[in-house]
């Protein structure tokens, strides 16, 4: 093995449901189409109208040429026809222009709806679900894969309708001039979709593979960029660059496979189109030379030219369809990839149903305790039991330290109590069953500051405001003081207005943790969960941060997962996590009972 970090883990670990079948994808695309509204209708109708205008243009042009060459009419006589030709040209130009604009409007609307639905889906998922996935691939689904639907709605869809209608209209337009040419058109046109369907199968498979590769590449980039410094310090840059080259090269090969099939299908079409055009030219030519006699009357030059001018136009909509065929394959591949990353396309957006508004309840700052019955926890893969079925009562206003060796499941327990991950058994917050409390209500009553808090792109103050959007500067300042954020931010030139980046780059681990803690002080919860609030802090700072926490937590229920004995000393009760059991260690003891006992 070369010096690379290896391949992204298989999606098997994420255990997604099988990608939607092609049939349901078609239904999904149809569902999304509804969001296009009137604009999409216009985008489809106007090109059809433009097609009709084209017939008029061809008719006028052939008449002018016929009259001039075979009839010998002077230029002045033909001027009205030429003027009409120019007018039609302007009309068609306007129709095409409006159609293009409408198409853009429709498909931007569709993409925006889908993006919002995906964002909403992400929010509704549990954190554990989100974190089990590759962030680059999820973000890629929202940004790139949704973008890949563009061609389907703006080009492929209008092209499909045109291809179904225009050749028939054109063939009918030729009928008054020559039946044989009309018949020739009607015979060759249906052959084309048949061949394309054959070619299309391969294109779909190749396109799916390409979408998956693109997802992987985004995931790989996001992961490696996160640890760029580490890779550099261990001298892995060249090897990683090579790994990325391999991944990129694989993407190129897959993309090319899609394109090759797409190009092949358009070549097939071109072949038929050329055959049709050459056939018409030959037939008309031979008729002129009297070598073929399939008509009762003589064919005029105008009729011959009209047939010739219409011949490429009959095949044009189909050629366009073939050119946009890979848009469809791409859209389907993208949908499949979105479905894979998000487990499904949010049904509301493909059904067009309105989303349910969250009910909000009045603020209730009354003290609340926790009651667990038969609570048990497992690792996400279900391999290891972290907590055997246990009963536990945490009375309201009690301050509890949760101790235990690393990896024993302290964070998992906190997350389960905060309804951020699944659990078995029953949990009650106050009088209510945890799973029945409306989301907004629960989050008001219960605050949790996790071990790996995220700092969002914005200033330190922005990050603190996460807890309360309408906090004023003084409130933010006070929260920052209590969390000892000002202890370091006052040394920065811009103070609390200092921008911090994604992942809190630029702040040390302890500093980022304190910013996350300051968020808490702008909220008014009944229950507080803190996960390692003082990691990375020196003893002095730790003590001050702890003072702030305890002052804020007075009258509230508090559970702190920690290794620091300094914290445990200042809590009412200590709960120790050992061998998948909880042991209460100090008076006043909590009611703990595991079912095995």
């Amino acid at each position: 093995m070369t010096k690379t970090v290896g391949h992204a883990p298989d999606r098997a670990s994420a255990a997604p449901s099988p990608a939607s079948a092609p049939a349901s994808q078609r239904a999904q695309l149809a569902g999304l189409r509804r969001h296009g509204g009137l604009a999409l209708g216009i985008a489809i109708a106007l090109p059809l109208a433009a097609g009709l205008v084209l017939v008029g243009q061809a008719y006028l042009l052939s008449r002018v040429l016929g009259d001039a060459i075979s009839g010998g009419r002077p230029l002045v006589d033909l001027a009205p026809d030429i003027a009409a030709f120019a007018a039609l040209l302007l009309l068609r130009m306007t129709l095409v222009f409006l159609g293009d604009c409408a198409a853009a409007k429709a498909c931007e609307r569709i993409k925006r709806r889908l993006r919002d639905a995906l964002t909403g889906r992400l929010i509704d998922k549990q954190s554990e679900w989100v974190h089990a996935r590759t962030s680059g691939a999820l973000a890629g689904a929202i940004v790139d894969q949704v973008e890949a639907l563009d061609g389907y709605f703006s080009r492929f869809l209008p092209a499909t309708i045109q291809a179904g209608v225009l050749p028939l209209i054109f063939a009918a337009a030729v009928l008054p001039f020559d039946g044989v040419v009309c018949l020739l058109f009607l015979l060759t046109v249906p052959m084309i979709p048949l061949f394309m369907a054959l070619v299309g199968w391969g294109a779909q498979a190749a396109s799916d593979a390409q979408a998956e590769k693109l997802s992987r590449l985004s995931g790989l980039f996001a992961d490696r960029l996160r640890g760029l410094q580490t890779l550099m310090l261990f001298g892995c840059m060249d090897a990683e660059a090579e790994a990325i080259r391999t991944a990129t090269d694989e993407l190129r090969r897959r993309t090319l496979r899609v394109l090759r099939i797409a190009f092949l299908s358009s070549a097939v079409l071109e072949f038929f189109a050329a055959l049709g055009v050459a056939g018409v030219a030959l037939y008309v030519g031979l008729t002129f030379l009297d070598m073929v006699d399939a008509r009762f009357t003589n064919l005029s030059l105008q009729a011959g030219l009209f047939c010739l001018l219409m011949a490429p136009e009959v095949y044009q909509p189909l050629r366009q369809l073939a050119a946009h065929y890979h848009d469809r394959a791409q859209a389907k591949g993208a949908l499949a990839e979105i479905a894979l990353q998000f487990e499904e396309i949010p049904p509301a957006v493909v059904r067009g149903a309105a989303s349910v508004a969250l009910t909000s309840f009045a603020r209730c700052p009354q003290p609340l305790g926790f009651t667990a019955r038969g609570l048990s926890l497992q690792t996400p893969d279900g391999q290891t039991t972290l907590l055997l079925p246990t009963d536990l009562i945490i009375p309201a206003r009690r301050h509890v330290a949760l101790l235990g060796a690393s990896g024993v499941g302290k964070s998992t327990l906190l997350n389960a109590l905060a309804r951020l991950r699944p659990f078995e058994g029953s949990l009650q917050l106050g009088e209510d069953r945890l799973e029945e409390i409306p989301e907004a209500d629960l989050r008001r009553k219960l605050a949790i500051v996790s071990q790996r808090s995220r700092l969002f792109h914005g200033t330190i103050a922005d990050n603190i405001c996460l807890g309360c959007r309408d906090a004023d500067d003084a409130m933010v300042r006070r929260a920052a003081d209590i969390a000892c954020v000002t202890a370091f931010s006052d040394r920065l030139l811009a103070g609390l207005e200092t921008p911090v980046g994604e992942n809190g780059l630029g702040l040390s681990g302890g500093e980022a943790q304190r910013v996350a803690l300051a968020r808490l002080y702008l909220t008014n919860p009944s229950v507080i969960f803190l996960d390692e609030p003082t990691a990375h802090l020196d003893p002095d700072t730790e003590a001050r941060v702890l003072d702030g926490i305890l002052a804020f937590a007075a009258g509230r229920t508090l559970v702190v997962a920690t290794h620091a004995l300094a914290i445990a000393d200042r809590m009412d009760t200590v709960l120790t996590f050992r061998d998948a059991r909880l042991v209460t260690a100090r008076r006043p003891a909590l009611h703990v009972q595991d079912h095995a006992a």
Binding site: M93, D100, R133, V277, S411, A418
Partner: protein
């Protein structure tokens, strides 16, 4: 534009491929024009001929069939070679960027947003493809075709030829130029908004638990949707500007046809031009405008490409905080470390480290305590030469760090960062980052030293256990120990451990500290920690205070 051209060397390597695509597309276009012209001429001539037998039917009809086939084949080849070459170039650009960007991004103080960087490396690079397939190719072939067609018209219909030349020049040069001017800003905002959207998604994914806990999800969703709305509006604007350009080209084509028709009919009346030739010319003119359609479609994306190029250039040109010396000297033998009069500060007026001195003999272990934010991690980054001190010098094995190559230095000194990452891959992959040919025995030994062996042994797949991004399938303490094991596995003689036991419970911490001597036997260790140290863990304990190291109880081991 200049930025765009600076990517020229990366394109030049694939000159052959581009040339092939160009020639094939020229062939396609020409065949199409000749085909149309020939059919028009053939039909009209056939109509006018009186003696059917003397008319050469087979020459033209064979030519029509041949040209059709030629056009199909050359178009297929053109598309394939054009796309293949472009994709190759894009792969080159990505690779080049990663190598180029890596060091400066890794060391930069600027908080480079990861979402933004990912956007640059994936989407922005893809956007560059519009430069060739898209704008340059059709433009070049269009110009060649326009010249040929103008020449033909000049000979047969001089007046119309002039109009044609002007119209074609406008369609190929003026309209695209205007289009690119008008779409420049819109294109730029599309590129930036896409990156913003990705950053918003990353914020949402990485900060999911925080957002839910603080019920800020609605605000976050609204933020994403606001970006998506702006992006939609920008794309719509771009599409409309492109539609205007398409209309302009349609107009030019129509006006040219009418002109050729009018002048042609005049010439026909004057018997200066035959009927068949008139029809042939007219249809050929019609066909030649096919060259302009592709140009418009693609030039609309030009604004995006220019912005993408600028963003990539900006990324590539980030100043590297440190550079290798011209003639690196080999690193001196031994793992001793000397810091003389080191002064360093992000803000020169208030340095974090002031005239700091430290000497560590090879094979000895020291601990550095100090208040949070006191410059301990900064000191660690200086030891790895992630940045250079403002004053003073640092020597490893007696040689100044600034005189040796960074690669050599990194092989000698290894760092366990405070926020060391776990990568997507297996546990084995993550360990082997430090030592690429480490065998399983070495991996297990390193895990044992970091007190993680039993945990991994308990996993059904052992070393082959896959880890998800950011190591989130491990607990924070386990992830920390994995990174520690990785550092211990490296062959470096000097280890700088920044808070190696954060996230560990006290019992595990103590066990680790007690093992430290054995685990790092023979190596120099700089241990940055808040933990109370049992006796015998290190030879000396120093305190970093006010930018200086003082030695409160020199040579007396600290007790817990």
């Amino acid at each position: 534009m200049k930025t765009l051209l600076s990517f020229h060397p990366l394109f030049a390597r694939h000159r052959g491929g581009f040339l092939t695509a160009l020639l094939l597309s020229l062939l396609t276009l020409t065949a199409g024009i000749v085909l149309l012209g020939l059919s028009g001429w053939f039909l009209t001539a056939a109509f006018l001929t009186t003696a059917a037998m003397s008319f050469n039917l087979f020459g033209p009809s064979a030519a029509v069939r041949g040209l059709s086939l030629l056009r199909i084949l050359s178009r297929y080849g053109e598309k394939l070679s054009g796309h293949d070459t472009t994709l190759r170039v894009l792969a080159d650009i990505r690779n080049w960027l990663f190598l180029r960007v890596g060091p400066s991004a890794a060391q930069s103080h600027h908080a480079l947003r990861r979402g933004d960087t990912v956007s640059r490396l994936t989407a922005d690079v893809d956007t560059l493809d519009s430069i060739f397939i898209v704008a340059a190719g059709p433009l070049a072939t269009g110009i060649v075709v326009a010249f040929g067609m103008s020449a033909v018209l000049m000979v047969l219909l001089p007046a119309a030829g002039l109009v044609y030349a002007v119209a074609m020049a406008s369609a190929l040069l003026r309209v695209p130029a205007l289009l690119s001017t008008f779409t420049r800003r819109t294109g730029a905002s599309i590129v930036c908004l896409s990156a913003d959207l990705r950053i918003a998604a990353f914020d949402l994914i990485d900060g999911h638990a925080d957002l839910i806990a603080f019920s800020s999800t609605d605000a976050m969703r609204a933020r994403s949707d606001a970006i998506a709305a702006k992006l939609a509006a920008a794309r719509e604007r771009l599409a409309c500007i492109a539609a205007i350009a398409t209309s302009a080209i349609t107009f030019l084509a129509g006006a040219t046809i009418i002109t050729v028709l009018a002048f042609g009919l005049q010439a026909l009346e004057a018997q200066a031009l035959s009927g068949p030739l008139l029809v042939g010319l007219l249809l050929a003119t019609l066909g030649s405008f096919e060259a302009t359609a592709a140009v418009v479609r693609q030039v609309a994306k030009f604004g995006n490409a220019v912005t993408a190029a600028e963003r990539l250039r900006a990324l590539a040109d980030l100043p590297a905080p440190v550079t290798d010396p011209q003639n690196p000297v080999p690193l001196g033998l031994g793992a001793s470390l000397v810091l003389e009069n080191i002064t360093y500060g992000h803000d020169a007026a208030r340095p974090v480290l002031r005239s700091l001195n430290l000497a560590v003999e090879a094979g000895s272990r020291i601990a550095i305590h100090g208040p949070s934010g006191g410059g301990k991690s900064t000191l660690a980054s200086l030891l790895l030469r992630l940045r250079d001190p403002d004053a003073g010098r640092i020597c490893v094995g007696g040689v100044d760090l600034r005189d040796v190559s960074q690669n050599a230095l990194h092989r000698r000194v290894a760092l366990l960062e405070q926020d060391a990452p776990v990568f997507i891959g297996t546990i084995r992959d993550n360990l082997r980052i430090a030592l690429h040919d480490a065998d399983d025995a070495a991996c297990w030994a390193a895990l044992a030293k970091a007190r993680l062996e039993s945990t991994v042994r308990a996993m059904p797949m052992g070393l082959a256990t896959p880890l998800s991004e950011g190591g989130l399938t491990l607990s924070a303490g386990q992830a920390r120990r994995l990174c520690l094991a990785r550092t211990l596995l490296s062959g470096a003689g000097i280890l700088v451990l920044d808070e190696p036991t954060s996230g560990l419970d006290r019992a595990t911490e103590l066990a680790f500290l007690n093992d430290l001597g054995e685990a790092t036997a023979g190596r120099t260790v700089i241990l940055i920690t808040h933990a109370a140290l049992p006796s015998g863990v290190v030879d000396r304990v120093l305190h970093l205070r006010d930018g200086r190291l003082d030695d409160p109880c020199s040579s007396i081991p600290a007790t817990a």
